[in-house]
C-alpha cells in the first residue's frame, strides 16, 4: 500500500492572462489567499518555506514545509509539500503539485496535478478538510464546479 502512487488532476479555464495566473498560483501573498492561513515562501527554485493551517480546535496552527521545484513564468510552477520538517523533500516523502498554464484565447487553461503516495495524499486531505471546516465561509462563496476525482480525461 505504501508503495502506491496516486495522482489527482484538475483543469480549469480562467479569463485572465497566463502572466497574471502565474503570479496568483506562485506568489506567497496570493497563495495565502487561495490555500492556507499563511504562506511564507519565496518564488524561487529551491526555496524552502512553509504554509500554515489553522486548527478547528483553536490549538497552534499546523505548519507544513514546502519547497519550490520549478519556476518557469508564465507556463509552469511546481512545489513539494507535506514532508517532515528538516527533511529534504523527494518523491518518497512528499506531495508534488504542478501547475501548467496554457494560453487559450485571451485566457489561460490551468492544469493542476498533485502526485504522491496515496496514504500521504489522504493524510493531507484530512488536514485540509479540517482546515476547510474551520474556514467555513471559504467553500460558500466560491462557484460550484464540476468535481473531478481521479484522472481527468483531458479534453482540448
Amino acid at each position: 500500500m505504501e508503495t502506491e502512487f496516486a495522482s489527482i488532476e484538475h483543469e480549469i479555464h480562467v479569463d485572465a492572462a497566463p502572466e497574471i495566473v502565474f503570479d496568483v498560483v506562485s506568489r506567497a501573498e496570493h497563495l495565502a489567499q487561495w490555500w492556507p492561513d499563511r504562506a511564507q515562501i519565496e518564488t524561487k527554485v529551491g526555496a524552502n518555506g512553509h504554509i500554515e493551517f489553522a486548527q478547528a480546535d483553536g490549538s497552534a496552527p499546523k505548519r507544513v514545509p514546502m519547497t519550490i521545484v520549478e519556476v518557469e513564468p508564465p507556463r509552469r510552477f511546481s512545489f513539494r509539500w507535506d514532508y517532515a520538517a528538516g527533511e529534504q523533500p523527494d518523491e518518497g516523502n512528499s506531495l508534488l503539485v504542478v501547475f501548467e498554464l496554457e494560453p487559450v484565447g485571451a485566457g489561460t487553461r490551468i492544469r493542476m496535478t498533485e502526485t504522491g503516495f496515496r496514504e500521504q495524499g489522504w493524510e493531507a486531505a484530512v488536514l485540509e478538510r479540517n482546515y476547510l471546516d474551520h474556514v467555513s465561509g471559504w467553500n460558500y462563496f466560491i462557484p460550484r464546479l464540476a468535481t473531478y476525482v481521479g484522472n481527468l480525461a483531458v479534453s482540448s
Partner: protein, 120 residues
C-alpha cells in the same frame, strides 16, 4: 521510478456499474455475483469482473459460502475512501475556483486601467 497515474481505488469508484454494485452491497448486505447480476443489467461474468476490481481496491471482502463466493463491503476501507476522495476533490476544486476568481479580478482591474489610459 515511474509514477503510477492510475490509482486502483479511484478508478474502482469511477465506474457507474461498480458504484451501483456498492450501493446494492450497502443496502442488501453480503451478496453473490449471481444475486447481484439479477439486480443489474449486466451478466454474471461482468459482475464477477467488477467484483474483482473492487476486491483489488480493498473495497469488498470475499468469503466462500457453499459453492459460491459471497462479497461484502469492507466498511473501514469504504468509509475512508468516500470521505477522503470527497475531501481531495473538493479541496482542489475550492482552491482552483479561488485562483480563478483572484486572477480574473486582477485581469479586470488591469483592463479597466488600460481602458482609462486609452480614453485619457
Amino acid at each position: 521510478m515511474t509514477v503510477q497515474v492510475d490509482d486502483d481505488l479511484w478508478s474502482a469508484l469511477g465506474d457507474p456499474t461498480r458504484r451501483r454494485m456498492l450501493d446494492l452491497l450497502l443496502t442488501v448486505g453480503a451478496s453473490t455475483a449471481t444475486s447481484l447480476s439479477e439486480q443489474l443489467p449486466v451478466t454474471r461474468q461482468a459482475v464477477a469482473k467488477h467484483l474483482a476490481v473492487l476486491d483489488r481496491a480493498g473495497l469488498v471482502t470475499v468469503a466462500p459460502v457453499g459453492r459460491e463466493m459471497r462479497y461484502r463491503i469492507d466498511d473501514a476501507q469504504f468509509a475512508r475512501a468516500v470521505a477522503q476522495l470527497a475531501a481531495v476533490g473538493t479541496a482542489w476544486d475550492a482552491r482552483l475556483a479561488r485562483i480563478k476568481q483572484m486572477a480574473e479580478a486582477i485581469q479586470r482591474a488591469q483592463n479597466e486601467t488600460n481602458n482609462r489610459e486609452t480614453r485619457d
